[in-house]
Amino acid sequence: MKKIFCVFISFVLIIGLMSGCGGSDSASSGDGNATGKNEEPVAVAFKLGGTGPLTGGAAIYGNAAKNGAQIAVEEINAQGGIQFELKYEDDEHDAEKAVNAYNKLKDWGIQISLGSVTSTPGVATSAETFSDRIFALTPSASATAVIEGKDNVYQMCFADPNQGSASAQYIVDKKLGTKIAVIYKNDDVYSKGIYNTFASKAKELNLEIVSTTTFTEDSQTDFSVQLANAKSNGADLIFLPMYYTPASLILQQAKSIGYAPKYFGVDGMDGILTLENFDTSLAEGVMLLTPFNADSTDERTVSFVKKYKELFNETPNQFAADGYDCVYAYKEALETAGCTPDMSAAEICEKMVEIFPDITFDGLTGEGVTWAATGEVSKSPKGMVIENGAYVGMD
């Protein structure tokens, strides 16, 4: 039986190697060299690629960013002028798979990158884009390690530390609470990153944290202990640096123990209102810092939300908006730098590195967005509060 197996598996291997080589033939032409495009009659479109979790537990974020970017690409291509060809590969929210996905994009001939959607894969792929000299602008990989020490990796979203300290500052400035409880996810880069800076900023501002509890991927159903701890320590505001799925459970379970503090969330909380069948009254009064508001009445947001709903049957969240903005930011930068699709990835990269710190960009997630040469974005987070099942600006 073992032998049959070996025979079988060897066959698969041979087929695998053959197709691997076959793939490489076509790939090598599009890959490295600057003039690689001359097989095609005219190089018309920039090859724009990104990785994100399109399957698995984190797939909502990856798909949102991908869909947002896709809408932007369609709009831009319809306008004429700069053209994009978009390709997203699945990274399953895993560093190894993300590098694989990125390499697949390299075989395809990626010229500019949208990095990765989530943080851990983002750190892994940004190291690759850095050494390959491919410019990357990630919609939402917010960990500092994504851009740290890499001149050609930029973020569209706030970096985690910014969110943490901005949240603490906001709570103090607006006198939202005096005794703070924090619940964060202890096996998540994003959640822990925000918590770290929140805690140090809170110390600096003399904001009292009375309860700090955690959960993990494996124990994200029951929050009774965390909430009991916050309640018994008299917390009047709970800070929730996490994505909205566990947050929705926390809101529901707090209600079931008759505990009604104020809640303050970060950009991952955005999307909670779009949860299917979610009782929005639970989220009444929840505050969050988010750059994007799907209920906003400005023209571009309205049209984006409408298109998104038509195409994907969902209300877009912040990830979608970030994906959308990334493509438009690229358009602006490429136009300003005068890049053409026949340039090599490395050439485009050098131009982008030059130009990005200088551009000012208006997008769905912020007006007058600028970037520091470190890759960090500067845009002002908007404080939102949920009232009657909709976001209302707090300022």
Partner: protein, 358 residues
């Protein structure tokens, strides 16, 4: 004499097979005939091959089911990377530093394997399986709460607090930052190193199987009571196999981790343990060559299926089930063996039989 001859011939075939694969890939690489996709997977494939061989030692040779093998990989990955970063100024020569790190990773995983093995190897069957699963989860959980930094004064280790309380002096560097794991790793792993590690692993495992100890281990697998009654020290040999397996997994962990700029503890959870177990079972229990092939094929396969997008994992699952059915269902098995009998001349089959353990 004849048996020995067969066994060593089989070893030579296995080494030759790996060397040939290495040479072919190197040739393809130097002639630029290899896709970035495949090239990017070479190091992880090597790491998984080592993982599969080492787990085969526990599952196939020792006959105990382990569902927490990724835990040892994790121990090796984290200690190896910490070692590598801390030694940066002491050993500037990268290949030597990697080698030292891999040895340190292997050693600490081996120690973890021994510590875990002493109490739990008394358990049997599914109970042992669940305890290994539990240890895998505990290792993951603990690593998520671990903070390690390095400065001039040496290593600082903290548990359950955060990176700032490491009190690193000026110029110090946080290496393990709790759940954020290690980031900013300089990629040092190369395919050649992976190949070397596979060869070392093969050398250790094949010689162990072929030794007196190896035969004792296999005797334990086949009939513990009988083996005990002829004076085989159960705990000693079980532990030997288990700790060796853990140490090799640790080495693979270091190799794997040094290929990515970031690693996190959650990566080495239940799913990764299962992934490796699948390699071992598909490759054939106790069949080292099978493990190598299965690890390689099943690492490449999901990448080859990328064109199917979201259907990829469903297809993977179906393929997995079908392979298990095809190789274990009596009717199909009979059919296949008939087919083989007709296709292969009998002397060839005999020759292959001796290769089972190689």
């Amino acid at each position: 004499m004849k048996i020995m001859g067969k066994a060593s011939r089989s070893k030579v075939i296995t080494y030759g097979f790996v060397i040939a694969a290495f040479v072919i890939v190197q040739l393809l690489k130097s002639s630029g005939n290899i896709s970035s996709s495949l090239q990017g997977q070479l190091v992880p494939i090597c790491a998984y091959v080592v993982m599969a061989i080492s787990l085969n030692l526990t599952v196939g040779v020792l006959g105990e089911l382990s569902l927490g093998h990724a835990g040892f990989m994790s121990v090796g990955a984290f200690t190896g990377v910490v070692a590598c970063i801390s030694l940066e100024s002491i050993i500037p020569f990268t290949i030597l530093r990697m080698t030292v790190s891999i040895i340190i990773g292997a050693f600490s995983a081996g120690v973890a394997g021994t510590l875990i093995g002493i109490p739990v190897l008394r358990l049997e069957g599914d109970y042992l399986a669940i305890v290994t699963l539990a240890f895998g989860e505990i290792i993951k959980n603990i690593t998520n709460c671990l903070y390690v930094g390095v400065d001039k004064a040496g290593l600082h280790v903290n548990f359950l607090t955060d990176a700032t309380s490491l009190n690193l002096s000026e110029g110090g560097r946080v290496i393990i930052d709790g759940p954020m794991g290690i980031s900013g790793i300089t990629k040092l792993s190369t395919f050649t190193m992976g190949f070397a590690l596979i060869m070392v692993t093969l050398f250790i495992v094949l010689n162990l199987i072929d030794s007196r100890s190896g035969r004792a281990i296999m005797a334990l697998r086949d009939n513990r009571i009988a083996a005990e009654s002829v004076g085989i020290h159960v705990t000693k040999y079980k532990l030997m196999a288990f700790a060796t397996s853990a140490a090799l997994a640790g080495a693979a962990g270091t190799l794997y981790a040094m290929n990515y700029s970031t690693i996190i503890a959650s990566k080495f959870g239940f799913n990764t343990s299962i992934l490796i177990l699948v390699f071992v079972v598909l490759g054939g229990l106790g069949n080292i060559r099978g493990s190598i092939i299965a690890a390689t094929v099943l690492t490449i396969l999901p990448e080859m299926l990328r064109q199917f997008n979201n259907y990829r994992m469903v297809i993977y699952a179906i393929v997995l089930i079908l392979i298990m059915l095809a190789t274990n269902d009596d009717n199909l098995k009979g059919f296949l063996s008939n087919l083989r009998n007709r296709l292969l001349p009998s002397n060839l089959r005999k020759g292959k039989k001796g290769a089972e353990n190689g």
